[in-house]
Assembly symmetry: C2
Homo-oligomer: 194 residues x 2
DNA sequence: GTCTATAGGCCGATAGAC
DNA sequence: GTCTATCGGCCTATAGAC
């Protein structure tokens, strides 16, 4: 089938997702129009509907694939020393967050703009991610290398602390990534009583 | 001067702020219309403009007065033991956040929707609040009762951790406030090496 | 696959009556 | 102080041409 004038499906699809993620993160889902996204992609607004049924599905898709990517990127050795696994988790979470700041920002800012079904699915994925850290903490308590009053709350507290890096990190800032990870690992290790 | 029909300025002003705060926090500034706020207040949309010049000023006013209230509510004894001051800060920050969850949520979600001047003013107030904790940490290091690699980063990390409580706290939840404060104080104390 | 054009609707803000 | 009515504009989503 002959290609029609100006068609470039190979790049428009990914580009749509990239630009939507960037704009949603900077201005908020509700504040960004489909026309604005289209302009950033370099097409007219109507063309976007060849790639997403509507704006809501576009947001849900961005959030879900971010959580899927996050879960897929993690790998663990449940037999290893819990403290080493925690250090690895700290490094992983900060690194992934700084590699995908817009997606991370979206994922905790725009959950409220999801339909109930989309929300439930994505909250479930988030729960799976939190359970990774919670397991490490429980193993650490079991092995008596951590002292933790409440593993569930400590999980949420540590994730909030680590994710907060995206709020102030700047590429050209005072501290490089390795140093930031080192500092946060010190904080996390202290918080779990190790 | 005779009161006009249906006038009730004493309650409409505060109610406008309350409803705007609640709706902005739940749906986001951009997603909430002036008509929606007016309906929650119980007036027509046009009546709101007797209380705010425009929607942007309404948001800026909510954020600024929240930061002013937060700063005004804190009191410190710079001569006291730094650890006791830190515990007091943890208790204060969690308590204030749980007392004003919508305002806290707005204050870190909607900064991007402020005009540059409004943003600068409110970011300055936020900086003043962060400097409270940073001073406590520096005093703790100076008195050798805390071990902290980087007081500035530790400040941001602790505030992110403490503020995160608002993301999951429910009145009817598993843990009451006193218990939550106790757990977070344990985490913070460990994080600062005390 | 992308375009132009448009439907149908909601938006922020203002004017003028009471 | 609040109402009704309205202006001009932008919105999401779709239809039909190419």
């Amino acid at each position: 089938m002959a290609r029609t004038q100006g068609s470039r499906a190979e790049i428009t699809g990914p580009l749509l997702r990239d630009e939507a993620r960037r704009l949603f993160a900077r201005q908020g889902y509700a504040a960004v129009s489909m026309r604005q996204i289209a302009a950033a992609v370099g097409v007219q607004a109507g063309a976007l509907y060849a790639y997403t049924p509507d704006k809501q599905a576009l947001l849900a898709d961005l959030l879900e694939s971010h959580m899927q990517d996050l879960l897929a990127a993690w790998s663990d050795d449940p037999g290893a020393d819990p403290l080493a696994r925690l250090e690895r988790f700290v490094r992983f979470h900060i690194g992934f967050s700084l590699d995908h700041p817009d997606a991370v920002f979206l994922s905790y800012m725009e959950l409220r703009n999801l339909s109930p079904q989309n929300f439930a699915r994505i909250a479930g994925l988030r729960g799976r991610y939190e359970s990774i850290l919670e397991s490490i903490l429980r193993d650490g308590v079991g092995a008596s290398v951590m002292r933790i009053e409440d593993p569930k709350l400590t999980t949420l507290a540590l994730i909030a602390m680590l994710t907060g890096v995206t709020n102030w990190y700047r590429e050209e800032g005072r501290l490089d990534r390795a140093r930031i990870v080192q500092i946060y690992w010190g904080l996390a290790r202290g918080a779990v009583g190790a």
